[in-house]
């Protein structure tokens, strides 16, 4: 399986290397991707729950903010 390409720019000698991730880098990358997906799902669920409450109350986000402010 092809791993993602990463770029490394060494600015001391201006050398640019484009290469595949190493196995160790790929492992970290996959862990980050999973964490990101989890955080994204969590944020979307929170947003959906918030919107559901606003819909039930018949309020816009700005109106709710005014009330809570």
């Amino acid at each position: 399986m092809t791993k993602p390409i990463i770029r490394i720019h060494n600015i001391e000698n201006d050398e640019i290397i484009d290469r595949e991730m190493t196995a160790a880098e790929f492992k970290i990358y996959e862990a980050n991707q999973a964490a990101q997906a989890e955080a994204q799902a969590e944020a979307e669920a929170k947003e959906a729950a918030r919107q559901a409450i606003l819909d039930r109350l018949g309020l816009t986000a700005d109106e709710a903010k005014l009330l809570l402010g």
Binding site: R7, H9, E12, N32, Q33, Q40, D62
Partner: protein
């Protein structure tokens, strides 16, 4: 033989014979001449004199060159003329963002701050734009204010990385940020940062303005910056990295 109070010049005594007057005056004159020269070593227009380690002997300091200022030497023993150190920005690198991450490595530690101008960033997938100093994650404390351009609301979000507070729309090329890292080369203290700019936020292509401030919680000098989208790869973007003194 009597001597003068301040410079110790030899003068004739009241009992000296008149025939020795010429010699006495000559001795006194020579002493005055020597002392005067020691106190006035300047030879050229613009020279100045300062006290040497020997009493009543001054050292000549020749005029500096245009723009130089008078300062104290590194041994803190004497004044000297020196060219004032000038503040300013030095372009260290121009890097095109590519791949799942782009690392700028071997950053010189010779500056007080780093400024990165990041522009025309194009992410291949919707996701956060992130910057990890020394490729370290979870070492940043920050708070981000953001909101849509033209609206009254603003939101805040805390975080543990230098990142956008929401997804950057894929395919958009107008995303631009500035990162300022102060005291980045310190090996004894944390590094405060500012990260601000604009991006198109994924939901409804909202034009998001953001400003994050915080601290890179590490005493290790920062020698690399890793730019990465949270998902996918960069399709474009440029980073101009400056060292600032």
């Amino acid at each position: 033989m009597p001597t003068t109070t301040n410079y110790g010049w030899t003068t004739p005594a009241d009992t000296d014979l008149v025939k020795d007057g010429a010699s006495a005056i000559r001795t006194l004159g020579t002493a005055i001449d020597t002392t005067t020269k020691n106190l006035n070593p300047e030879t050229t227009l613009g020279d100045i004199a300062y006290r040497s380690s020997t009493a009543n002997v001054k050292t000549r300091l020749g005029l500096g060159t245009a723009g130089q200022v008078l300062t104290v030497n590194s041994g803190a023993t004497a004044p000297e003329w020196a060219t004032p150190s000038s503040g300013g920005m030095t372009l260290l690198s121009t890097t095109t963002l590519s791949g799942a991450s782009t690392t700028i490595s071997s950053i010189s530690g010779s500056y007080k701050s780093l400024i990165a101008y990041i522009y025309n960033v194009n992410q291949g997938s919707d996701g956060d734009f992130m910057i990890d100093p020394n490729n370290s994650t979870n070492l940043t404390d920050s708070i981000t204010n953001y909101g849509e351009n033209g609206t009254s609301y603003a939101l805040a979000r805390s975080g543990n990385r230098i990142r956008t507070p929401g997804n950057v729309s894929s395919g958009n090329t107008s995303n631009a940020w500035t990162l300022i890292l102060d005291n980045y080369a310190s090996s004894t203290s944390f590094k405060p940062f500012n990260f601000y700019g604009y991006y198109e936020y994924t939901p409804n292509s909202i034009k998001a303005c953001m400003h994050a401030g915080g601290n890179f919680r590490s005493t290790t000098a920062i020698s690399s910056l890793v730019f990465k989208p949270s998902t996918g790869s960069f399709s474009g973007g440029t980073v101009l990295l400056y060292g600032v003194n």
